[in-house]
Amino acid sequence: MTRLFRSPRPIEQSPGKLAVRIVLFLVWLSCTPGFGQSADLIRLSQLQESIQDEKDRIQVINFWATWCGPCIKELPLFEKLHAERKDVRVRLVSVDLDLDPNPEKVRSFATRKKLKAEVLILDERNPNEWIEKVDKTWSGAIPATLIVNNRNGKRKFVERALQEGELEKLIAEIQ
């Protein structure tokens, strides 16, 4: 096995190979957390616990998917919110796994779009069992957005695409 990885000549002698190594290193770097998106898998129960644990900030949880046009169109609103409001925690929860079990599609999408807000991939299989646990009124159509303030117990749930400025308004309503 080791023979496979041994170079016939020392790397230093070949500037071309060194360049390849640097490129590979950069590609690897771009795939690591902090540089791009790790976009971890999360069970709904874990997400729910995490929502309950956040006491300091207002939380905005957006349910989206890479195949959903209206979702992608409104992503910049969440990115803007994430960049501008330190008192708000934004999470973009992908429901892609329901149709495509490979999470890499979501990760490469998040990296390509340079998403800065936290991206998570919902690791659930039976929509009929978990949709109601997010919100009783949710039919399951996406985009859908949940806004939670644990300090006063207020929450909002919106099952449609949002317009510019609407997120800020909804946040103000539960502040």
């Binding site: 998917a65 195949w67 959903c68 046009g69 209206p70 429901v95 329901d98 149709l99 495509d100 079990p101 299989r125 039976n126 929509p127 009929n128 949709i131 109601e132 949710w138 039919s139 399951g140 159509a141 996406i142 985009p143 099952e159 449609r160 695409a161």
Partner: protein
């Protein structure tokens, strides 16, 4: 006179306080509708005089879930039309927002996939609103009772969008098999992830 006044006042309060209906619930009677089919002919729910019921499915061309379920919708009609429960599909999407769901593309889709059931266009979106459809594909099974159609099931086709072979519950088949055998439906409402209906901008 005073009693009459009180009665009227109560009536006004009752009417005013009645919640805005967000579509049909289980047991509701469906208002008749008449929509244009891909062959250009108008089709009404009341045309289904000999059916035991109808599997009404709000569906479209473009949604990945509609694509995933397309062959299963065709199979539902093949299995149940002869048993008295034909499929009727309705496209609710505004074609200005979803050009792939235009009437011309619907005609293409029906031809390509060999639809033997209606694929109706809900141009005004009034029928979709009346039903309370939210996503595609969204199923409403209506049963014909005394010349009226009553809603008996609302929701998903089954519990596995991606992989048909991994299906544990076939909600629509279970419901119709139950109806055919005169048994109560175990799950009358189910939920699934789906593409939101592209409503016209108000």
């Amino acid at each position: 006179m005073k009693a009459l006044f009180t009665f009227c006042a109560c009536l006004i309060v009752l009417v005013a306080a009645a919640p805005i209906k967000n579509g049909y619930e289980i047991g509701d009677t469906v208002a008749d509708f008449r929509l244009k089919n891909v062959d250009g002919k108008m089709i009404a729910l009341s045309d289904y005089k000999d059916a035991k019921g109808v599997i009404v499915i709000f569906d479209c061309n473009t949604c990945p879930y509609s694509k995933a379920y397309n062959s299963r919708i065709i199979a539902l009609h093949a299995k149940y039309a002869a048993q008295g429960f034909p499929v009727v599909t309705i496209n609710p999407n505004d074609p200005t927002q979803s050009p792939g769901d235009s009437f011309e593309r619907m005609v293409q889709q029906a031809k390509q996939k060999g639809y033997t059931f209606p694929y109706l266009v809900d141009e005004s979106q009034e029928v979709s609103r009346a039903f309370g459809a939210t996503n595609t594909p969204h199923v409403f099974i209506v049963q014909r009772i005394n010349r009226e159609f009553k809603v008996v099931y609302i929701g998903a086709i089954d519990d596995s969008a991606k992989d048909e072979s991994a299906t544990k519950r076939k909600y629509v088949e279970e419901a119709i098999d139950g109806l055919l055998q005169g048994k109560p439906i175990t799950s009358t409402r189910t939920k699934a992830i789906g593409c939101t209906i592209k409503w016209k901008n108000a």
